[in-house]
Amino acid sequence: MSSPRPTSVPAKHPKRDRLSTTSFLLEIGSEELPWQMIQPAMTQLAHLMDGFLANHRLAHESVRTFGTPRRLAVIVQGLANKQTPALQETLGPSKAVAFDAQGHPTKAAEGFAKSQGVDVGELETRETSKGVYLCAIKRQKGLPAATVFTEHLPGLLQQLTFSKTMRWNVSGVRYPRPIRWLVALVGARALSFDFAGVRSGAHSWGHRFFAGGKSVAGSRGIRIRRPELYEAALARGDVVVDPARRREMLAGQLTQLARSVKGRVYQVNQEELLDQAVFSLECPNVLCGNFDRTYLAVPPEVLIASMEEHQGFFSVIDRKGELLPRFFAPTNMNVKNMELIAKGNERVLAARLADARYFFDEDRKLKLADRVPQLHGVVFHKRLGSLYQKTERTIALAGALADVAGLPEVKALCQRAALLSKADLVTGMVGEFPTLQGVMGEKYAAHDGESVEVCQAIGEYYRPRTPDDAIPGTTVGRLLALSDRLDTLAAFFYAGIVPSGSEDPFGLRRSAFGVIRIVVEAGLNIDLGVILQQATRLLDAQGVKAGGHAGPPLHKFLEDRLRYYGRTVPGYREDVMDSVLGRADGAACDFRDLFLRMDALQAITSQRDFESLIVGFKRAHRIVEKEAWTTRTVAVELLTHPTERTLHQAVETAKRAVGHSLDAHDYHGALRQLIGLKSPIDRFFDGVLVNAPEPEVRANRLSLLCQVDDLFSAFGDLSQIQVQGQ
């Protein structure tokens, strides 16, 4: 019967409450955390703290988090000194039972009051759905914030989760790296609790190697006097706790350094590299170093990859876009003499670049074409054979695509490009820098004297690599990109390895999206059904074991990607896409064509007559569907009413015109013809009853409507279109 319902009491004295606010700081000091984990952990910490404060009725103004490799911190500002008092209401017996005829409390009422520890006179009543009941109200006093934090912070810390954690001591606590200190303050008061074998207090540690650092003789750390002083105190210990500030510092230094060498920072993944620096350093300071000019003979992509991936260095280009023999290295030290550090970094980079040059020179000693047999030794997937087998299939598909696309003049080029497309994967350079696949293939193919078209195709067929990336720019590149992806898709579907839910380890959705983008954006009208059939034959001929099907399931998979494209890029209506994708000959595999249909239909939805046309069409469609009427010849002599004859004529005319337009892929034209049927259909329904008393007239009218239905269906399943008010 009793149901405690704590409710907050609104502050009665806002002025006094303001005076009694305080602040809170928690810092979790650890050994260096992986940089990728810090930002998500800060978000998580803020979220947990919000929940914590709400659960424990601690009023506050703001929650702010900080993070460096060696610490996660959260500060709560405008924190109430005490928990908000709560009124806890408990329902007791019904009013009818609680009071006698004279209105005096009964034993039941007294018993309830006693059990709740209140006076009978203080009991109130509450109206409920079941009637009026007694209610005891207890005031829960608010505990001091410090008490609440001390007691419950270990529980909060326990809730932090990370993608990869470890144990290090008997506490058994899991965290990404060992926790070494904890700071917890409410106002000027240090809180003392134990977690992960560490006792919390007021002492933090600064930059490892400067005043207040752990590795400095005699250092006792940094005492944080109040949460408000946290940022400043750590700044004196050479630690910038706010990542936004560190990002500003790094970005500013990079810009300034670039300007000083008359260049600008060049990085494909600049934001990610900057993130890495922001979250790897406590005291960011960028230095400028040089490398030997002779390395500029190595392709700039290689130099940039070497600097970025191995060392985390930024590259710099001049006004003409040429790479400069310099680098910007983010360091964690700000000392007067950066010379020693710069020299060290230069030496490390020189060794890296020497290695890259070694690969570049060695790789060019063997032609790409001569490397192809080595692909026998590289597994594509254990159920799908080697990369050599994949290459064989890709060559065949590239040739078939050139034929189907009506581009026989590029067939030989496509096949040559396909032959060489995977050969760079067995070069030393791509082994060292996998991100340079394709890039190196193009360079090496050019060195081997392959044709320009083949080189370009090898260089660009991995595009689009991301949703924002452009599709390949050349015809050969596009056809190669399609044949590589279609083979991959067909192969995995054929083997029954299909993405499910969020699991897509082989990036098949990305591959399919690439296919859609290339056919749509390059305007390639290709029946992919033919290609996928051939892909299946090739897999079968190579003896790959079938575990699934590269037919309908893959078709549906590609259709889903087309739908995703339609939704996210041009922003088509769902019912427009349903109409086009849901039409009777659902096996159509010309995705460019489907796209054009969607495009035309989407465009016409805004026309004035469109909705009423659809209303009329749907009426015809429903009747035909209900009667399960099939296509029959309309007997002209039985058309008695003028509206019937008009509609029949209009349908006959439109049939020819729509047919021509569809054949020419002129879907805007086809839809214009259909719009023209609006008034004949409307007048027909106004003029005659389909259910004529004479059976032959009725049958003839149904046949006429069936022709209307067929005519519309040639474009798509327009019955899917939603009309306002229907």
Binding site: P34, K164, M166, G201, R208, L281
Partner: protein
């Protein structure tokens, strides 16, 4: 010249741990002095100075003093030099930075101590590397050995951008969850020495005052590169691998875990040779790795059983145990 410059720097530096004087301050930074200095440092920190294990291996982790000692509850503190062979890294003595045979300096401490990062940095100071003048960063590097069925979390330590040490908190080995946790430090001795001597070519390193690394090992690099890449008899090594695998399994059945582990180590090295020789396809590689891991797991299981049957002798009373337990009395942070 570099030595004398460092000498001046160190003359004005308050050396943090008064017991250890900087190597650079006292002697020239030869590779052999670097090793001696690390020996002294870690011996003073209660580590047993072990000797290298007398079998070929790809890393100091394979030494029973790390892989086997990390298993089970017994405490352990050891430091040793470990010659390592990585056949695929051979460059015929032509690359100034890559070697197919080199020397790791390995420190293993179980249970790991709270001050291990500071201890490690102190060890660098004794080598003449002042963290206040360099940029030392701990960059995430999670370690995994598929052949040992082992993994751990840690860092590669970078000195002015150069990786000089692998720092790992072992979490699992031979398929066993490790409790207590062992921490492993693996110094790249050649790299650190190159940095200290200011040389860009490993063959120019001074091993002692008058003998260079090249004098000692250049021809070995040339010969072993030729052997691993061109001459190794693939069929013979395949046979050896199979024989060693068989022997390991047989010995495990007889409860001879230490000899069995020797044969497990041998299979690992033979696999590396086959790999360098280009004799394995990707699929075969995976198969071979799985076979070595199977042996390593078998050895780990048997080793824990064996130590248990002996009553975990290092757990109480022994010198190692006492040294470790005295370290457990952690100094509390000032508060």
């Amino acid at each position: 010249m570099l030595g004398s410059r460092l000498q001046i720097i160190y003359a004005i530096l308050p050396v943090r741990s008064s017991g250890y004087r900087s190597l650079a301050a006292t002697t020239s930074v030869t590779l052999q002095n670097l090793i001696l200095s690390l020996h002294q440092f870690w011996a003073k920190h209660d580590c047993i100075i072990c000797q290298p294990y007398d079998l070929e291996k790809g890393a100091g982790t394979f030494n029973p003093a790390t892989f086997l000692r990390a298993l089970g509850p017994e405490p352990w503190r050891a430091a040793y030099v470990e010659p390592c062979r990585r056949p695929t890294d051979g460059r015929y003595g032509e690359n100034p930075n890559r070697l197919q045979h080199y020397y790791q300096y390995q420190v293993v401490i179980k249970p790991c101590v709270d001050t291990i990062q500071s201890l490690y940095l102190d060890s660098l100071l004794t080598l003449g590397i002042d963290p206040r003048k360099h940029d030392i960063q701990f960059r995430q590097d999670d370690w995994e050995s598929p052949t040992l069925g082992a993994w751990g979390l840690g860092w590669e330590v970078r000195l002015d951008g150069m990786e000089i040490t692998q720092f790992t908190y072992f979490q699992e080995a031979g398929g066993h969850t490790l409790d207590p946790v062992t921490v492993e430090l693996t110094y790249g001795t050649e790299r650190i020495a190159m940095y200290l001597q200011g040389v860009d070519n490993v063959y120019d390193l001074r091993w002692s005052d008058d003998v260079s690394y090249g004098d000692l090992f250049h021809d070995s690099e040339v010969q072993f590169s030729r052997y691993h890449f061109e001459a190794a008899d693939i069929a013979m090594i395949h046979t050896m691998f199979a024989s060693c695998e068989e022997e390991c399994r047989t010995l495990l059945q007889q409860g001879l875990v230490l000899p069995a582990y020797d044969y497990c180590m041998k299979t690992s090295h033979l696999f590396n040779v086959l790999d360098a020789r280009g004799a394995l396809s990707v699929a075969e590689r995976t198969g071979f790795i799985g076979r070595v891991r199977g042996l390593a797991r078998g050895c780990a299981d048997a080793y824990v059983e064996r130590r248990k049957s002996l009553g975990f002798p290092l757990l109480a009373g022994s010198g190692v145990a006492q040294a470790a337990s005295s370290k457990r009395k952690r100094k509390r942070l000032p508060s």
